[in-house]
Amino acid sequence: MIWLDTLAQGILLGGLYALFAAGLSLVFGIMRLVNLAHGDLIVLGAYVILVMVSVTGLNPFLAATLALPVMFGFGMLLQTHLFNRVLGEDILPPLLVTFGLSVVLQNVLLETFSADSQKLSMGPVEAVGVPVGPVTLGLVPLATLGSAVAVIAALNLLFYRTKLGRAFRATSDDATTVQLMGIYPARIFSVATGIALMVATLAALYLGARANFDPTIGPARLLYAFEAVIIGGLGSLWGTLAGGLVIGVAQATGAAIRPEWQILAGHAAFVAVLLFRPRGLFPRAND
């Protein structure tokens, strides 16, 4: 019974990791940009929600809907004025710039909000448990996993059923040739990063609801997100969800054996997957 509970908690935790990873996967898939500031951008999203909560007095869920357009706009600006300048044949400049951005964001957040840890208080809903068969699951963790599945499904619809999605995929295939189809890659990239930061904001909502956060926790979130993307296979959004679940279940299992093994077990699962499936669980067919 305890193992069933551990598995369930791991899957729910995996939903959070999948949300961390979805934005990273989206940006990498479209423009081959490895955004080392992704974790810090999630933390930034959490602080934006926090500010919205304290300004409007709204519940964090509603405050997040106000934070979404702010973060979309920030993502557009970031891509237009910073990342688009360094994207090119050489992969080193974008790595350096996003690494620098990571350091800048951490320090700006530290100056603005201090090193005190914060939490997004959801109110009484935090204590609500839903009995599912033999185990009881928290409503907020269930909402996390539900949101992760919904986000991945929505991104898939966007990618495979819409005009913008076709432009994303065409630009991902060949950013030079799309210009001869009347598409301006820099603009497509800006929209993509805007969307990625909206997903990051959703991740931030559940991050802040689950645990305390402070300006320094970004890089560790980035690491989980990375592992989820790699485990799932580059370019596969459903794979990213699966990758998140693998890390979540591994961490929960590790913690159930010995509490200090939680983080280690997640990384060990990552290494194990790479050993047996070097291209991840769901690699794209013709890369």
Binding site: R166, D173, V178, L180, G182
Partner: protein
């Protein structure tokens, strides 16, 4: 008025002059062929027209509009369509989606018209059966046809065809030529670079010969092919 004009266009890569003072006018609906030895600057000329390269000197005019400073994206939307010598399909998109992207963005075709238009073009280019196949999985002939179909989907008024018949069998070539002739008959202006001369001369009204970036001759295909300097340079026959 001519639909496309090049005024004394020149381009150098370092000390090498790849396009040297080229000027010509293309009438609406006209088909112009371009021939010349390898390295004569034929593809560079296309890059200058499509906007992938900017000329060092001279101007490119579309409908009397100076587009020399415009990006490939802007020129595409103004009506320049291009197919590549080495096909560049969006490999992870289906054949049909390749055309949709071209029609919706380059051709600015409204969403509800685009599917019908794209299926129509696929049918005319002999690709209807492969509409749902990933473009990256196509064999060479189909890729060449896709290049043509995708360029057509951008609703061009001038279409640039770069060695589209190269590497095809005789039968495949005949089918392709009839597709191109039909596009021409519908009023789209064509500039066509080709080594397969009989394919080219069966469609075009005028022929241009490029050599070392310079325009050697332009005129009626039979007159141009009969000129001694063309025979000497292009066919390697001593005059």
């Amino acid at each position: 008025m001519s639909i496309l004009s090049l005024n004394s266009v020149s381009k150098s890569f370092g000390a090498l002059k790849v396009t040297d003072d080229v000027s010509f006018d293309l009438a609406p609906g006209e088909a112009l062929g371009i021939i010349g030895p390898n390295g004569a600057g034929k593809s560079t000329l296309f890059n200058l027209i499509s906007g992938n390269l900017r000329p060092d000197q001279g101007a490119v005019l579309l409908d009397g509009h100076d587009v020399t400073g415009e990006t490939p994206m802007q020129r595409c939307r103004r009506g320049i369509g291009r197919s590549f010598q080495i096909p560049q399909p969006f490999g992870h998109l289906s054949v049909y989606e390749n055309l949709l992207v071209a029609a919706e963005f380059g051709g600015r075709v409204p969403g509800h018209d685009a599917p019908g238009l794209c299926m129509d073009i696929l049918g005319r280019c002999g690709l209807a059966a492969q509409a749902t196949a990933p473009a990256g999985s196509l064999p060479l002939l189909s890729r060449k046809r896709l290049e043509l179909a995708r360029a057509m989907a951008t609703q061009p008024r001038v279409i640039l065809l770069d060695e589209i018949a190269g590497g095809l069998t005789e039968g495949e070539c005949v089918a392709l030529v009839s597709t191109i002739r039909r596009i021409h008959d519908e009023g789209t202006a064509i500039i066509w670079i080709e080594h397969v001369l009989h394919a080219l001369t069966s469609v075009v009204e005028r022929l241009m010969v490029l050599n070392f970036g310079r325009m050697l001759m332009i005129g009626q295909p039979d007159e141009v092919m009969a000129a001694p300097e063309v025979k000497e340079i292009y066919l390697g026959i001593e005059a």
